[in-house]
């Protein structure tokens, strides 16, 4: 187990280094930042001084190593726009992103368990067919458009929920449901097929024969095993929600990392973009790592095989 843990950790580190290379290269191919930072009438001499100050006249490898060295110490440079530490800017917005992603995850899991179990139990009924249609539609709808439709319906037409900003629980509902929306379909299908397998298994048949009440049988004995695939995939879904937050936060003007990065891209504020994307990637790798470890803890059979 320890050996496995170490090799997975090492793999995670390699991934994060790779991600930092991608981010570094991507932000260097964009052209000369000095043209953006200096007034348009700057002389070539001023440009040269600026480039020297930013270290842009050094070879790329050296530039990367400097970038990586500073990044490890949490120094991504100052935001061009706000003149404060880029990392601090990202960290300040991070709680809002986590809040949104966690709420979206809870929403999607609750809905998926409920609908997944019911459509397995009543397999072939109208409820099951409805679930199938719902899943098909869910996967065909772009998340941002679902968000826009929610705004149109619940905020504009009915005036029930606020469409923008962060505040009380009411502000959280629309963005969280939108962010969770895309995963609901996949999760429901996963729970449904796991539940169908479990309901067929011997121990459930035995329990049924012994006379265990139906709802205890389903919601306690069967669900425990049927939820394993979903639980082990939670990290993946969480990571997907971090990725989706870029666009959903922009739509709902949610003050999180995603919106900050998107705004920074338009302002060509590269330190903030680099800090935000690398930070998200690290979180992404960590959640995937947790998934692998969770496998071992939740399902002992896997642990012993390794």
């Amino acid at each position: 187990m320890l050996k496995y843990l170490l090799s997975r950790l090492l793999q995670g580190v390699v991934c994060i280094i790779g991600a930092s290379v991608i981010i570094f290269v991507a932000s260097r191919v964009s052209g000369d930042v000095t043209l953006l930072l200096l007034p348009p009438d700057a002389t070539p001499e001023q440009q040269r001084i600026m480039r020297h100050e930013l270290g842009l006249d050094k070879p790329y490898v050296v530039q990367y190593l400097l970038f990586a060295g500073r990044a490890v110490r949490g120094d991504f440079g100052k935001s061009y726009r706000w003149q404060t530490s880029a990392l601090k800017l990202v960290l300040d917005r991070f709680p809002a992103t986590i809040q949104l992603a966690v709420c979206a995850l809870v929403f999607s899991v609750v809905v998926a368990l409920f609908f997944g179990v019911l459509s397995a139990v009543y397999q072939g009924s109208w409820f099951d067919s409805f679930g199938k249609v719902f899943a098909l539609l869910g996967q065909a709808m772009p998340g941002f458009w679902v968000g826009l439709m929610f705004i149109l319906f619940f905020a504009v037409k009915l005036g029930l929920l606020p469409a923008f900003g962060r505040g009380g629980l009411k502000h959280l509902i629309l963005p969280a449901v939108t962010l969770g929306w895309y995963s609901v379909a996949a999760q429901t299908r996963m729970v449904r097929s796991a539940m169908l397998d479990v309901l067929d298994s011997d121990y459930i048949q035995t329990a049924r024969g012994v006379g265990v009440p139906r709802w205890i049988l389903i919601w306690k004995y069967a669900l425990r095993n049927a939820a394993i695939p979903l639980v082990t995939m939670l990290g993946v879904y969480f990571a997907a929600m971090l990725g989706g937050s870029f666009i959903i936060e922009t739509i709902f003007a949610w003050p999180g990392v995603g919106r900050t990065v998107v705004e920074a891209i338009f302002a060509r504020d590269y330190p903030v973009v680099q800090a935000g994307v690398l930070f998200t990637s690290i979180f992404f790798v960590l959640s995937n790592l947790l998934v692998d470890l969770a496998y071992g803890f939740i399902d002992p059979r896997i642990r012993y095989v390794r």
């Binding site: 991507a26 973009v273 994307v277």
Partner: protein, 305 residues
């Protein structure tokens, strides 16, 4: 590579029908009935809009007419028959723009899937066939690629390159090739131990010929299914990028861009924000359903795709 002759699925289904003892004309008729007509119809309409559509749009999709701005669809009070689906904030005809938008979606999806399929297949075949160091390097690349959230990578790339159609295609290829690489690698690994591969090697085939003539035909079905199933998500991806302003740029038209333009008018004009989105949903629904059907017909063992 991801574009196989259309007769292939037909041929596969026909052999299937024949095996069930329904050969000949009757078998063909029953095969026709079992085609997924609803998704096929959607895809045909989209394809028609993308190819012929731009020449027959009712209005010039780029023509501004501020006196006709934000007219509702014709069935609503205030709508006119001249603009069946209404107009946007600049008085441009929504129907014409949606037709033109189909063209961009189809072009982007075609090239993106073709290149990501080709690159991913090549990488996956090398990885699976040669193993060892090559395998390790390629699979680490895949891991690294997947450790950056797809949209974050897309954002950083499209911010760095000049936004536009080529950039969108590049971004999608960079994100999607890993899917093909992983799946093709798995297929190659399982085929590698089969006798016919060993025989080909004994007969003196070099690695290139083996991959091309013996592996590729065997994974073509899987590739075709994967490509069809990804069509929908590629279209959504392009729309998302364009919506954020990092994808297709005006004067080109795309459904995502239309939504982005329409966003400020969400409280006054429901149609500008609903209709282009419906086009995306229907297209994705069509390609997902068609992909499901294709998978069940060609490659039933891959139910989890």
């Amino acid at each position: 590579m991801s574009v196989a002759p259309p007769s292939q699925s037909a041929a596969a289904a026909q052999t299937l029908a024949r095996r069930r003892g329904k050969a000949g004309l009757k078998g063909f008729a029953s095969w026709l009935l079992r085609l997924p007509w609803f998704p096929l119809l959607i895809l045909l309409v989209v394809f028609f809009c993308a190819t012929v559509g731009p020449y027959v749009t009712p209005h010039d999709p780029g023509a501004l007419n501020l006196s006709m701005a934000l007219k509702p669809p014709s069935w609503q009070i205030g709508g006119t028959a001249a603009y069946p689906l209404g107009t946007d904030n600049m008085g441009r005809d929504i129907l014409s723009r949606m037709i033109l938008g189909a063209k961009i979606s189809v072009i982007v999806a075609f090239w993106a899937i073709l290149f990501s399929g080709a690159i991913g297949t090549l990488m996956g075949m090398f990885s699976g066939y040669f193993g060892g160091k090559i395998d390790m390097i390629i699979m680490r690349l895949v891991d690294i690629q997947m450790s950056v959230p797809a949209l974050a990578l897309a954002l950083i790339l499209s911010a760095s390159l000049k936004p536009g159609m080529t950039t969108v295609i590049v971004v999608i290829v960079v994100t999607y090739w890993t899917w093909y690489a992983r799946i093709v690698r798995g297929e190659v690994l399982s085929l590698k131990e089969r006798d016919f591969i060993a025989l080909a090697r004994i007969a003196g085939c070099n690695a290139f010929m083996i991959l091309l003539k013996h592996f590729l035909p065997n994974i073509l079905n899987t590739l075709l299914v994967l490509a069809t199933l990804q069509l929908g998500s590629v279209i959504i991806y392009e729309a998302s990028l364009s919506f954020l302003g990092l994808g297709i740029q005006p004067p080109d038209v795309s459904w995502g861009l239309m939504l982005s333009d329409a966003r400020p008018y969400i409280s006054v004009a429901w149609w500008v924000i609903t209709l282009p989105g419906l086009a995306i949903v229907l297209t994705c629904l069509g390609s997902n359903l068609f992909g499901d059907w294709l998978r069940d017909t060609l490659d039933p063992k891959r139910r989890q795709l």
